[in-house]
């Protein structure tokens, strides 16, 4: 895996805003087909890091390369699917059906003179089918539940046929039952479709068994290559800035 070109190659990245250091000297790589969770305390710089990966913020120092290229030279944005934190908090009066939203995923790859092609329609239908929202396609998106909206946003990202999906706290506003199904869906996209998944989460307990790598961000980054070996108390304490204790829970098989 590590011999391939990284999708993102971050070197010595720092971000200072109004004399406050948000990120300090972060270096990391994200390779194709990885399944990565990003955790850390609120205000620790997780979202800022993702925004820099996507070119939405400029670093104070350091560099991000995307598929080996600088942002100014990168053109294949359809390879990147992004689902922002507020995705499920949709303005309920916005005039959009589920189909309207998922079709947006094809916008950047369509010529300005061309209507939706057969391939575009197939990819839109396929994305809705994967997210199990085909029967909702004519519903107004503002009338859907948090979990359904979240699936619509991911379907929009999938419609562009991305190689990597970046999700910022995708479970905001979603009930606990939907969260487990959601993580299973992400894992399936990673394993069956080979899509690289990177997501910010606070649900470390829910995902610990599945993730391949864990980035813990609090100004600095701690890269954990074997998340099944839980972070030590010292590392957790350092990360969250409070004293952490491990609580062992014994599971019984029935």
């Amino acid at each position: 895996m590590k011999f391939s070109v990284p999708i993102f190659d971050v070197k010595n990245l720092s971000f200072v805003l109004k004399e406050q250091t948000i990120l300090s000297n972060i270096s990391l790589e994200i390779f194709p087909s990885e399944y990565i969770a990003i955790i850390g305390p609120n205000g620790g710089g997780k979202t800022t890091l993702i925004r820099m990966l996507l070119g939405l913020e400029k670093p104070t120092s350091g560099e991000v390369r995307i598929y080996g290229k600088k942002f100014s030279h990168f053109k294949d944005w359809h390879k990147i699917g992004y689902v922002p934190q507020r995705a499920s908090l949709i303005d309920s009066s916005f005039p959009a059906t589920v189909l309207d939203i998922v079709k947006m995923g094809r916008t950047s790859q369509r010529s300005i003179f061309k209507p939706l092609s057969k391939l575009d329609r197939e990819l839109v239908d396929d994305a809705m089918a994967k997210m199990d929202i085909s029967d909702l396609k004519n519903k107004m998106v503002g009338t859907l539940s948090g979990g359904q909206r979240q699936r619509v946003m991911i379907a929009r990202a999938l419609a562009s046929k991305p190689e990597i999906l970046i999700l910022d706290e995708p479970n905001t506003g979603v009930d606990v039952g939907s969260q487990k199904r959601f993580y299973a869906l992400l894992r399936e996209l990673n394993q069956k479709e080979g899509i690289t998944i990177v997501f910010i989460t606070h649900d470390i307990g829910v995902i610990a068994d599945d993730i391949a790598r864990l980035f813990t961000i609090n100004q600095k980054a701690i890269i954990c290559n074997n998340p099944k070996q839980a972070l030590s108390c010292e590392e957790m304490s350092e990360l969250y800035g409070i004293e952490a204790h491990l609580l062992h829970v014994h599971k019984h098989e029935h």
Partner: protein, 265 residues
């Protein structure tokens, strides 16, 4: 009822009105969805500054209105992006500034007259053949741009950052949209007037949004409301000798109230 179609000036006014209704409602949909409703008012006042310059310079004010509205639109986008100022504050400053300079120019140039009044409130009598050519030319151009980039404008209105990360040239398209809106505003002030054009751009879309339907249906409903309001307003203006801008806006407000009541939950 149909006698108004026998007059040349009414034919010109109706032609201009139909084009403006189409342009204002389609561009208005994007403006409202981007929560940029005040831009219409500001650009209308900048267009009025152009009218003042045109009147004093004894040049067709419609041309100078287009130029000044465009310059104002670009300045708004530049100030918004380069100085991270609040959008509504930028709009308020330019609105007042444009009006202040316009008043001084017409005052110094002695152009406070009926002609200026017609640009403030709209007049169906004042649409000339040259105006029709300007409206048709720029109107077709603006409509073409709106239709060509409608899917991009819609995406940006929904989520600007995701649109940007999907490879859409958001900054350029923002400039294109405000430029088109500026042209449409400038073209509209003959018929609707600079003080009232904002309403023609915004209210049909707000009324259409009450129906809670998808994007294309919203645009279609807004377009229907806009066309009906312009035609009904002009007919009322003709029969009762009232300023056309005011009658058109009252028709739109009537439709808005009906839409609100019909879709009450």
């Amino acid at each position: 009822m149909f006698e108004m179609f026998e007059y040349d000036f009414m034919q010109r006014a109706l032609f201009a009105g139909v084009i403006i209704a189409i342009l204002a409602s389609i561009s208005g949909t994007f403006v409202v969805l981007r929560r940029y409703s005040l831009i219409g008012e500001t650009l209308a006042h900048s267009a009025l500054l152009g009218v003042a310059v045109g009147l004093v310079a004894e040049y067709n004010p419609l041309w100078s209105a287009v130029v000044f509205a465009l310059l104002s639109a670009w300045l708004i986008e530049y100030l918004r992006s380069a100085f991270a100022l609040y959008s509504d504050a930028v709009l308020a400053i330019l609105l007042s500034g444009s009006l202040a300079v316009a008043i001084i120019i017409v005052s110094l140039g002695g152009a406070f007259n009926n002609s200026l009044f017609s640009y403030l409130f709209g007049s169906i009598l004042s649409v000339s053949s040259e105006d029709i050519v300007v409206i048709a030319l720029f109107g077709t151009l603006s409509l073409g741009v709106l239709l060509l980039f409608s899917k991009e404008f819609y995406f940006i209105a929904y989520d600007e950052e995701v649109a940007k990360t999907s490879g859409i040239k958001v900054n350029i398209l923002n400039f294109v949209l405000v430029s088109v809106v500026a042209i449409i505003i400038a073209l509209s002030i003959r018929v609707v007037g600079s003080l009232l054009i904002g309403a023609l751009m915004i209210i049909p879309t707000i009324a259409a949004l009450q129906f809670r339907v998808g994007f294309l249906k919203t645009v279609f409903i807004s377009l229907t409301f806009s066309l009906f309001s312009v035609l009904a307003g002009m007919a009322l203006s003709f029969h009762f000798s009232l300023p056309s801008g005011a009658t058109i806006v009252l028709c739109i407000i009537g439709i808005f109230i009906l839409s609100l009541v019909a879709n009450r939950r």
